[in-house]
């Protein structure tokens, strides 16, 4: 069904090519997936109508498949060769390793990770139309807030473990010592901070949260459902877990 669809799609089949590698084949539309043609929009090719690449192989569940989608040819080739010599996977190398290793027991339902520390930026929080005085006033208001020492990356995960649901926020560091130094500041943030945007106590937002160190990661565990959303929003708006 999938191969037939790709080959017969009236909007894109004229641009279709197939690339064969030792480790797998893939479809590609056009030479540059970053170019777009909105006249050929669709759910897969997007509102902008982009070509890019698609690989399909057996896998996943018993009757399923694994699909890889990229926009740039090099990324598809890297994905197909991931795990082979010279092309390590994200589980073997890079900033996701320590985050994944920091996740606790259970099955991840959803995850969101940023690979840089969240930095306080008053102008971003106050808004683009704020005056310098308003920004200064805002900075003074929160100058006594606790900040984390520099960390590497941060990931929020929602986990199910039997009948229980919880959210973990994993903050990774260079080494165990750097992580240990951030345990107490993290506890302070959870106990005493208010959110920058809504002035809401973090202890209320993440009720019953606990902090522990897992090797080079500091992990905040929040029991119950509904907390992944709060963690996601805190990360995307740079509202909590900020570093100096």
């Amino acid at each position: 069904m999938r191969d037939e669809a790709v080959r017969s799609d009236p909007a894109w089949s004229d641009d279709l090519d197939e690339v064969e590698l030792d480790d797998g084949d893939y479809y590609t539309w056009g030479d540059d997936g970053t170019e777009f043609d909105p006249t050929r929009r669709g759910p897969f090719h997007g509102a902008l109508g982009r070509g890019g690449q698609l690989a399909v192989e057996a896998g996943g569940n018993e009757e399923g498949s694994i699909v890889t989608r990229t926009i740039v040819d090099d990324d598809m080739q890297a994905a197909i060769e991931a795990g082979s010599d010279g092309e390590p996977t994200a589980l073997e190398e890079g900033p996701l390793v320590s985050l994944v290793d920091g996740v606790g027991e259970g099955d991840v339902v959803q995850a969101f990770a940023l690979f840089e520390p969240l930095l306080f930026d008053a102008s971003q929080i106050v808004g683009p139309n704020a005056t310098e005085n308003q920004i200064e006033e805002f900075e003074e208001r929160f100058e006594d807030q606790e900040y984390l020492d520099g960390y590497l990356s941060i990931m929020a995960v929602e986990l199910v473990d039997g009948e229980e649901t919880r959210t973990e926020i994993i903050v990774s560091h260079d080494d165990d010592e750097a992580a240990a130094a951030n345990v107490e500041p993290m506890e302070m943030i959870l106990a005493e901070h208010v959110t920058f945007r809504e002035n809401r106590p973090v202890s209320e937002l993440f009720a019953d949260a606990t902090v522990e160190q897992r090797d080079e990661a500091v992990v905040v565990t929040v029991p119950g459902s509904g907390n992944f959303r709060a963690a996601f929003q805190a990360m995307t708006t740079r509202d909590i877990f900020l570093a100096r």
Partner: protein, 180 residues
């Protein structure tokens, strides 16, 4: 509602969230969202690591190179296990059309679900169009891992539909052999 899976309700808000995420980097940063890299894996505190086998298996399919920062920007990683969500709604064996009809019910089990992004969120309700393009829909995706770094993205997804037999190598444009 922020970034809810339901396409009719969530597309605009999700886009706003993603734009807010990268608002320092111009609207061009949004473009890569349309083409993601998805990977899923899970583990625990056992020898295999935390998060569950499925989560870890998906991460293992993402090349480390997808997470290398480029051009002053940093990548963003997303993961969703919709098989768990659909199971929570007793829709594990349901088809894409029924899941679409029930997608508003996702909020019953969790107030926020990122959901798969391999298909553009604003167009995910177009099941027939998706089938015309590639033969499956967003509601056939069991789990997905994605790395976005505009204008690039890499998405790996486990799909509940199997691989069909290919019709030979008679592509109109011919077979391209481009060993790396």
């Amino acid at each position: 509602m922020v970034g809810c899976l339901h396409p009719q309700a969530g597309c605009a808000t999700t886009l706003r969230v993603v734009m807010a995420l990268d608002d320092r980097r111009s609207i061009a940063r949004v473009i890569p969202l349309l083409a993601l890299t998805t990977i899923v894996a899970c583990g625990g505190d056992d020898e295999a690591g935390g998060g569950g086998d499925e989560f870890r298996a998906m991460v293992e399919r993402v090349p480390a190179s997808a997470l290398e920062s480029e051009g002053g920007g940093e990548p963003t990683f997303y993961f969703s296990d919709m098989a768990i969500r659909w199971e929570q709604l007793d829709l594990a064996d349901a088809g894409a059309d029924e899941r679409l009809d029930r997608s508003f019910d996702l909020s019953e089990v969790e107030t926020f679900t990122i959901g798969p992004q391999l298909f553009e969120r604003a167009l995910q309700v177009q099941l027939d169009e998706a089938r015309t393009e590639v033969g499956f829909t967003t509601f056939d995706i069991d789990r997905e891992a994605m790395v976005v770094q505009p204008p690039r993205s890499t998405t790996v997804a486990g799909v509940a539909i199997g691989v069909d037999a290919r019709r030979g190598r008679s592509l109109r444009s011919g077979v391209v052999r481009r060993p790396r």
